[in-house]
């Protein structure tokens, strides 16, 4: 049982990734797709953060003087945290671009349904051919 | 070969050459005489048909090629003449222009060219395994080269003989003959049946005696197979003729049968049989030309083509039917008419050759075939002269001199050459000896 709970964040991350990916691929509404994308990204961040966490340790920014010892093995791994931060930045910017694109699409087609948009485009194509 | 004349030297091995030897001269004479006689006959018969200029052009061209064939001094020249003879005689077959005659001409063309092509196969191998392509007594095959390849050469020999056999109506390439001969105008049928089939015989003779050589072939399976084929043809031709009602077609089947008598003699490969073969070639030419001319005369005056329609015609056309009776007697081989002597030599040659089974089977088949010959020829005369009671009177009249002359000459020849055969026999014996 301990083994299972020890890996709990990883399992959670996997499940979330699956949820996010399915929403991204299957949802028709573009905004929902973006939400799915965010869930997916979050799951990866969770996974990374869990990797960086070592039990009974502290953040590496706490100085030695404050704790009274200088054993580096008591620090959590700082790199994943850095990665997660970078990842969040990337994810935010991507989400922003996507949302702006959705706004433009909505202006153009008056719908958020991707299938419907494609349908409208097909119809235009056919009229073009005539 | 003497007096060899080179017309064209294409490459070192290939050249067009002409020369003369006894066999060639014999066939040349035979062919030329027949051509002249039939040509005279055709002067009257031509009233019956259109496009005479074309007909006589090809008639003469065919003769030229046939004459050239008899004088060909090597394999290439013979092949060339053979091909051209086929091509030039084809217009004679399709002269009437009916769909049947055109179909028949195509059939003729197919069989002849197929046969010639098999003959060509022989030339390829002769070129590779022989010393020369020129006809040489005893054959040209180089024993050193064919060592280890005998079986291939035998096959090639067999195939090429069968190939040229197409022209002579030999089984299995005989089927064109009964189709093509009847549809042609009567003069053409006469020379086709009487002379052009002999071109096949000449080619086969040259192949066996002057290219492959009897020493190579004698006693092998090839000889046996060829004799069997000839016997099959003899018997089958007679049977088919017996069952045929259309007169010209009956004669055509008869040709199939009779020419294979000649081939039988050639295949037997001894002097007596070869003599018989050459004699029979001459006799058959005369007789068969005569028969076709008679048939032509009947058709010319009465438009009757079937044997069953001949009833009572003999009384209206006594000369024609009289001659027909003479030809029939000759072909059956009743002494002293012409056919007897040749059959005699054929049978004796076959008996003396000493091939197992075949030495007595061949004469037996000849006898049987002679009976059948009687069976399909005599009824024509009998119907003609003695119609059954109550038959309506037949219409018809005797032909002009232009037609009757050649027939009478041929009939006379049938009788005279049967009775006074020795000059011809001596000449042909010399020819046969020169071959062996």
């Amino acid at each position: 049982m301990t083994y299972f709970f020890a890996d709990l964040p990883e399992y959670a991350a996997m499940i979330l990734f699956g949820v996010g990916l399915s929403i991204l691929m299957l949802a028709k509404n573009l905004v929902k797709k973006i939400i799915g994308l965010n869930i997916m990204d979050t799951s990866v961040f969770l996974f990374l953060a869990a990797k960086g966490y070592v039990e009974n340790t502290v953040a590496p920014i706490v100085t030695a003087e404050e704790l009274g010892h200088i054993d580096p093995s008591l620090y959590s791994n700082p790199v994943p945290a850095g990665l997660v931060l970078t990842g969040i930045v990337v994810s935010v910017s991507v989400t922003a671009v996507l949302l702006s694109l959705v706004v433009r699409l909505n202006e153009e087609f008056h719908t958020l349904d991707i299938d419907e948009i494609i349908h409208i485009l097909r119809k235009r194509d056919r009229e073009d051919l005539k | 070969m003497t007096n060899v004349f080179t017309l064209l030297r294409i490459t070192d091995r290939l050249s067009l050459q002409f020369g003369s030897d006894a066999v060639g001269r014999f066939f040349l004479c035979l062919v030329t005489i027949m051509w002249v006689l039939v040509g005279i006959y055709a002067q009257k018969y031509k009233e019956h048909q259109k496009h005479n200029a074309r007909f006589f052009t090809f008639y003469i061209l065919t003769w030229v090629m046939l004459a050239a064939l008899t004088m060909a001094a090597n394999y290439l020249t013979m092949y060339l003449c053979f091909e051209f003879m086929t091509l030039l005689s084809m217009p004679l077959v399709l002269h009437n222009g009916t769909p049947e005659s055109i179909a028949a001409a195509k059939k003729y063309l197919f069989y002849s060219i197929f046969g010639a092509t098999l003959g060509l196969l022989g030339m390829f191998f002769t070129n590779a395994y022989g010393t020369t392509l020129a006809f040489t007594a005893g054959g040209v095959m180089d024993p050193a080269k064919i060592a280890g390849k005998e079986n291939v050469i035998l096959w090639v020999a067999f195939l090429s003989v069968v190939g040229f056999g197409a022209k002579a109506g030999m089984f299995p390439l005989h089927a064109w003959l009964p189709t093509a001969h009847p549809v042609a105008p009567a003069p053409a049928s006469a020379v086709l049946s009487g002379c052009i089939t002999k071109a096949g015989v000449l080619c086969i003779t040259r192949l066996i005696y002057q290219i492959y050589g009897t020493s190579l072939l004698r006693g092998t399976w090839v000889q046996t197979a060829l004799i069997i084929l000839a016997l099959i043809t003899v018997f089958m031709g007679s049977m088919m003729a017996y069952g045929e009602d259309l007169m010209k077609k009956r004669f055509a089947f008869s040709t199939v049968s009779q020419v294979s008598y000649v081939l039988l003699g050639v295949f037997t490969m001894n002097e007596a049989a070869l003599l018989g073969a050459l004699l029979h070639a001459a006799y058959h030419s005369i007789i068969k030309d005569g028969l076709f001319l008679c048939a032509g005369t009947v058709i010319f005056w009465t438009h009757k083509e079937y044997v069953s329609q001949m009833k009572g015609l003999g009384r209206r056309m006594p000369v024609t039917f009289g001659c027909l009776a003479i030809f029939s007697l000759g072909l059956v081989g009743i002494p002293p008419f012409a056919g007897f002597l040749s059959k005699w030599y054929l049978a004796s040659g076959s008996l003396s050759e000493g091939l197992p089974v075949l030495n007595w089977l061949a004469p037996a088949v000849l006898l049987l075939s002679a009976l059948l010959t009687a069976g399909y020829l005599f009824p024509i005369c009998i119907h003609g002269f003695f119609p059954a009671e109550g038959e309506p009177e037949a219409e018809g009249k005797e032909g002009s001199g232009l037609m009757l002359g050649p027939i009478l000459i041929l009939a006379a020849a049938t009788v005279l050459l049967g009775i006074f055969a020795s000059p011809l026999k001596d000449a042909l014996q010399a020819a046969a000896q020169s071959l062996l």
Partner: protein
């Protein structure tokens, strides 16, 4: 003469052809003079190169460390060049008349002239890659000629041609690379593979040979890769005649010859399993082609199938891998070119004068077009193999070579040759018979508007007929010229 002259003779028609659509002649005369001047100049130049400067080499470019673009004049290529140099001016003359009613003649003659240079490029290539280059270009330059009339049928034929040709060229290319990666040389030389072959990689070279054989076999219309040839007959007749009976298809055959004798060598192939396989394929194609020709009623398609069959004669001869096989193949390559182009020209003349395309429609035509059908008869007899016309000689040479080789596959080919001879007679002579002997109930109704073609067409026709007869009777000089190729293919000779 130095190597540049080879480049000039190849580039002259190519550049001339490219310029033609740009110059955009409106006047027929001007275009005819221009095209004829280029073609004749190229022919004369090519002939002088073949006769006078054998062995001249030109390395144009080192494409990679192992691949050069290079040219050389040798006897084998010279024979091919000789053939096209004789036939191109005649066909051009013929095409002037034939194309009179077509549109876009500038484009047509542009590509037509370009093809001349490209074909010479094939002939004068010094290695396989250079040949591959021109081989591909030949496909591309002849494609617009096939689709020239723009009909749907023509387009389909064009696509078919393209698919087959490109597939073949690619397969051949793969074979070349395979040879290259296993230490063989793509240079055409006497030694062939030589010491590159070991026990271990022999199977590999066998595979590469099959790739190249079937690859180049596409243009040589080898069964089952022949399908493009009959359909390509929708092209204007000068194209069908010159390209699909001579230049294009012969370049396929020529390439196989190059592979057999110059990339590989006779020693390698003689008696090998791949040789047998290839021989059987060729033998089968010979029979297949003639039978199909016999069944076909469309005039040009019948001739196309006949080409299928005859090309395999040449392939068969080359594949025998003997000195006599090589000379026999080359001889038939020359002679078949002459005969088949004459036959096609007659078919074209008939189409041009009367619009008839089926052999069944030619009843009595000999009366209306005596010259054409006279030539047709001569060419037919030659193709059937009647001595002393030229077709007999080459068939005779092939058959003799086969007999001499003496293996079972060679005999199979021999049998195929004989069967094919019979069918050849049938499918050609029936046309002759129908034209000369229309039969009864014939009133000449189909000849009302049919007249003999004019001198543009009859002069090439008669020239060809004369060549067929003269070369058949006096082949001495030609055979001597051809046997000069032996020393470049067999080390000992």
């Amino acid at each position: 003469m130095n190597g540049i002259s080879i480049l000039i003779v190849i580039m002259l028609p190519i550049v001339g052809g490219v310029l033609l659509p740009l110059l955009d002649f409106d006047a027929r005369r001007a275009r005819e003079y221009y095209v004829l001047a280029i073609v004749i100049a190229t022919s004369v130049f090519a002939l002088s190169l073949i006769s006078g400067s054998e062995g001249t080499e030109l390395i144009l470019y080192h494409l990679t460390s192992t691949i050069d673009i290079a040219f050389r004049i040798d006897r084998f290529g010279g024979i091919f060049a000789l053939l096209v140099s004789i036939l191109w001016p005649l066909s051009t003359l013929y095409a002037f008349e034939y194309m009179r009613h077509y549109h876009k003649r500038n484009r047509f003659f542009g590509f037509f002239t370009m093809s001349f240079g490209i074909t010479l490029g094939v002939a004068f290539s010094a290695n396989l890659i250079t040949m591959y280059l021109f081989y591909e270009l030949l496909t591309l330059s002849t494609l617009p000629l096939i689709t020239h009339d723009g009909s749907r049928e023509a387009k389909v034929a064009g696509v078919k041609y393209l698919v087959y040709s490109i597939a073949g060229a690619t397969a051949a290319f793969i074979g070349m690379i395979a040879v290259l990666t296993h230490g063989g040389s793509l240079e055409f030389n006497v030694i062939g593979l030589g010491s590159a072959v070991t026990e271990a990689n022999r199977a590999f070279f066998d595979g590469a040979f099959l790739f190249m054989f079937f690859g180049f076999g596409v243009k040589a219309a080898l069964f089952p890769l022949h399908g493009w040839l009959p359909t390509a007959g929708v092209a204007p007749t000068p194209v069908t005649a010159l390209l699909h009976a001579v230049a294009v298809v012969k370049s396929g055959v020529f390439a196989v010859g190059r592979v057999v004798y110059y990339t590989y060598d006779a020693d390698y192939l003689a008696g090998s399993i791949v040789q047998k396989l290839a021989l059987w394929f060729a033998a089968f194609t010979i029979v297949y082609g003639t039978v199909m020709a016999w069944k076909e009623l469309h005039f040009k398609k019948r001739l196309a199938y006949s080409t299928v069959s005859n090309l395999s004669y040449i392939l068969f001869a080359f594949l025998l891998a003997t000195p006599s096989g090589l000379t026999a193949g080359l001889l038939h390559m020359m002679f078949h070119g002459l005969m088949k182009i004459a036959l096609f020209f007659v078919a074209g003349a008939v189409m041009h004068q009367s619009g008839r395309t089926y052999v069944t429609e030619l009843r009595g035509f000999a009366k209306a077009m005596p010259v054409s059908f006279g030539v047709f008869t001569v060419a037919s007899l030659a193709l059937v193999g009647v001595p002393p016309l030229c077709g007999f000689l080459s068939k005779y040479a092939i058959a003799s070579a086969a007999v001499e080789e003496g293996s079972r596959s060679a005999y199979a080919g021999l049998a195929a040759l004989l069967i094919s001879a019979v069918f050849t007679a049938l499918y050609l002579l029936t046309i002759v018979v129908r034209a000369y002997f229309p039969g009864e109930n014939y009133d000449g109704h189909n000849l009302k508007d049919v007249t003999e073609a004019n001198a543009y067409m009859t002069v090439p026709l008669v020239t060809l007929a004369v060549l067929i007869v003269v070369l058949g009777c006096f082949p001495g000089a030609l055979t001597e010229f051809i046997s000069g190729a032996l020393s470049t293919a067999f080390p000992g000779l």
